[in-house]
């Protein structure tokens, strides 16, 4: 399932409830391949809808979690990440008024970062994420690669029409920062900052579904 592969799978349900949400993935990479990651799920635009839905037991046959269940689930993930090798300084915030969830940590290398990401998925999916290396960093060629293995458009087509609606106004933003200057980026939709040390890519879920745009990218840094 596509949803299982998305970050914050535990909030898969919230995805189903809201037409508007944004996912922000920020990675600051040091020269040695270590760095810091912050993942944000922002459902604030849909908070009225979520508040009404939180009053119900289930929606579209999905059980609606209570606030304490959400907190418990999130705490479980944070705990797993804290116990991951190569990961330190894990911190998180849960804002159940605006429905904004963030998680950040330091990682020793991109392998550890892949493990962090895989924690938001099911076990089978997690293995695939690690095998496929969603993040990789080639020190010799100074190339940072963001990838994923899902055929999202195909997976989306397998979901029910009523569930599909939720992706209509969703967006995914990735921001990667480096100490060195960026020479080039393969994804033409990505924008390199004025300082050339940061790159941002914002794509709508619709564009991903229609295969118009992707969050995949290969960023070449100065040697």
């Amino acid at each position: 399932m596509f949803k299982k592969g998305l970050y914050f799978i535990l909030f898969g349900l919230l995805f189903l409830l809201s037409g508007c949400f944004e996912i922000i993935e920020e990675v600051s990479l040091n020269d040695d391949g270590s760095g810091q990651v912050t993942l944000t799920l922002n459902l604030s635009r849909s908070k009225t809808k979520i508040n009404s839905i939180m009053l119900l037991d289930s929606v579209n046959n999905y059980k609606v979690p209570s606030e304490s269940e959400i907190e418990k689930h999130f705490a479980g993930i944070v705990n797993t990440i804290e116990n991951t090798n190569g990961v330190s300084d894990v911190s998180n915030t849960i804002n159940l008024t605006e429905f904004i969830f963030t998680l950040s940590c330091n990682f020793e290398n991109v392998e550890a970062l892949n493990t962090v990401i895989s924690n938001f998925s099911s076990k089978e999916e997690a293995k695939r994420i690690q095998d496929h290396k969603h993040f990789s960093f080639d020190k010799t060629n100074q190339t940072f690669t963001r990838s994923y293995h899902y055929d999202i458009a195909k997976e989306i087509k397998n979901t029910k029409m009523e569930d599909r609606k939720i992706f209509e106004t969703a967006s995914i933003t990735s921001i990667y920062r480096f100490n060195k200057s960026i020479i080039s980026s393969k994804n033409l939709a990505a924008k390199i900052s004025g300082s050339k040390k940061a790159i941002m890519l914002k794509v709508s879920a619709q564009d991903i579904i229609k295969n118009k745009k992707s969050i995949k990218n290969q960023i070449k840094l100065q040697q």
């Binding site: 922000i24 922002n42 604030s44 009225t48 900052s193 004025g194 040390k197 940061a198 941002m200």
Partner: protein, 564 residues
């Protein structure tokens, strides 16, 4: 000469045989559904019906295997006549039967696969094909009968040992035995029924009374209680293991009749339910009251999207309902009769029905006045030139319901005391002459309250609450006055206005089209529950369709076509 007379008699009997599928329905059938084919075809002629894409698709699919089929009329059915479904349970097996007239036997037989055709057993004019043990198909030149039997869970379970002793071999388990035995019963039943000549349902006065030539479809249930009893114990078997010896024939609800009508500008489903003396007495007391006419002062049909009105006698309701329930459940669960009576008495002891009846009279009205746009803030992010994130608060429009609730009360003093207590505990905020209810911060609307003229008013609009206090409300009730007065409860929606209010931003492209189409084709919808008439309580679901169209069935089929 004798031969000639015999031929005439035979011919005549064939005609009468052909005319009455009803004669095949035994008098003890528990439920009968009739679909009036000719009526439906009058509303939407076959050529128009076959033009709908769903039908075209089905025909196309059939045509892949059977190239000679070009339309519904090639299937061999006489779609111009009535078709029936009936349900006949016994203690050991439940039969479901469908009866359709045939126009062309040969065409119908062509529908069967060649392998199925080989399995047809012919005996004179009658053909029999058993798909498997579950479905028997029998037909002659005029009648097609499909019948299926579902073995009763409880019967087979209770007689398990006896059936297990009937195993054909060591490998045949209980489940296989059950299917084999039930299959042979079902096959015998089908044969008997096809040649049935006994007393038919047409001799049942209740059934005959349920007939209505204007209805496109009719449902008749002999006894709802009995049907439920049979259903629960036979097919589900749920209650067998629970030890609850439920007897639904004491439920108190008798026959149920429902009709489906497609008229020029309305599609309607009406239903009538007959109850026993005990229910009649209780329901008459509970539902005899009419909504307080002073409620109409606060209804303006030009400024509402829909409403729900309820008028019951709270005092009678609280007095009668527990007694009724204890009698029903005492009757249904004879082992727990004492418990249910005691529970009802305790309930009555604790409650002061009269006092509650004064506090809440039983007249209630919910009016959906509007769906309004409200500014709602949300948090998002902006980025500087170096893509550093900054949290910003933005505003967007969101729809919020604007409604009014009016509840009748004859004990203002007690209510005011309650409110004073609410103010003390900060549940209410005292404004000049009304109250603001302190709702949880996440509620998308405000709520104001006032007690006036033996009514409690709750509304989302501060302007409306002041209008109520200052007698500045506009009363424009129109036809709704009569509807509310004559019914115990009414749910009404002005679909046209309602569709208009759904914000486009909340809809996908497909939904937008759907809403636009619904707006052009649907008008008002009502669900009404009437007062008791004799031993009968009736309800009606009405959907008003566009005025400029051929009829409501056509509108609904066009709608389905559009949605598809």
């Amino acid at each position: 000469m004798n031969k000639f007379i015999l031929t005439i008699v035979l011919f005549a009997s064939t005609i009468s045989f052909a005319q009455s599928l009803e004669s095949k329905i035994p008098a003890n059938a528990k439920l009968v559904v009739t679909i009036d084919g000719s009526h439906l075809l009058e509303l939407v002629p076959l050529t128009e019906f076959e033009n709908y894409s769903v039908i075209k698709e089905i025909i196309k699919e059939i045509k892949e295997d059977k190239p000679h089929i070009n339309g519904i009329s090639d299937l061999g059915f006489d779609i111009n006549s009535d078709a029936y479904y009936f349900y006949q349970p016994t203690d050991s097996i439940i039969y479901h039967v469908g009866l359709i007239k045939l126009k062309n036997r040969v065409d119908f037989e062509k529908l069967l696969d060649s392998s199925a055709q080989k399995k047809i057993v012919r005996s004179g004019n009658v053909s029999h094909y058993a798909e498997d043990s579950d479905l028997n198909i029998m037909w002659n030149d005029n009648i097609l009968m499909l019948s299926g039997g579902m073995p009763s869970y409880s019967y087979f379970d209770e007689n398990r040992e006896r059936f297990e002793a009937q195993a054909l071999n060591e490998d045949e388990g209980f489940y296989e035995i059950k299917n084999r035995v039930a299959g042979s019963w079902a096959a015998n039943y089908a044969k008997q029924l096809f040649n049935y000549n006994g007393v038919s349902i047409a001799s049942n006065q209740g059934y005959l009374k349920s007939k209505d030539n204007n209805a496109s479809a009719t449902l008749w249930i002999k006894s709802y209680g009995e049907l439920m009893g049979g259903f629960m114990s036979s097919s589900l078997g749920m209650l067998v293991g629970s030890g609850l010896n439920m007897n639904y024939s004491n439920y108190g609800i008798g026959s149920v009749t429902a009709h489906l009508y497609f008229e020029k500008e309305t599609a309607r489903i009406t239903s009538k339910m007959e109850v026993n003396d005990r229910w009649e007495k209780a329901l008459k007391k509970m539902y005899s009251s009419k909504i307080d006419p002073s409620f109409f002062k606060y209804i303006n049909e030009n400024e509402m999207l829909g409403y729900t009105s309820i008028s019951i006698d709270t005092e009678a309701f609280l007095e009668e309902y527990p007694k009724l329930m204890s009698e029903i459940y005492g009757g249904m669960l004879p082992d727990y009769r004492e418990e249910s009576i005691l529970a009802a008495e305790l309930f009555t002891l604790i409650l002061d029905e009269e006092a509650i009846g004064e506090l809440i009279t039983g007249d209630m009205l919910f009016v959906l006045n509007d769906i309004v746009d409200k500014d709602v803030t949300y948090t998002t992010y902006e980025y500087d030139d170096d893509y550093n994130e900054k949290e910003v608060v933005k505003t967007k429009k969101e729809s919020s319901p604007d409604f009014t609730i009016i509840v009748g009360s004859e004990n203002e003093k007690l209510l005011l005391r309650l409110i004073r207590l609410g103010v003390k505990h900060e549940a209410f905020e005292h404004k000049s002459s009304y109250y603001k209810i302190n709702l949880p911060s996440k509620t998308p609307f405000d709520l104001y309250a006032v007690i006036k003229d033996e009514k409690v008013f709750l509304t989302t609009s501060e302007k409306r609450i002041t209008n109520i206090i200052n007698n500045r409300t506009v009363s424009q009730v129109g036809n709704h006055k009569k509807i509310m007065k004559n019914n115990t409860s009414v749910i009404y929606m002005d679909l046209n206005k309602l569709m208009d209010k759904i914000p486009e931003s909340e809809l996908s492209e497909d939904e937008e089209q759907f809403v636009a189409y619904a707006k052009d084709n649907l008008r008002n919808a009502y669900f009404k529950t009437g007062k008791m008439k004799g031993k009968t309580i009736s309800s009606e679901l009405i959907l008003e369709t566009a005025k400029n169209r051929k009829n409501s069935l056509k509108v609904l089929l066009d709608f389905l076509e559009f949605v598809d």
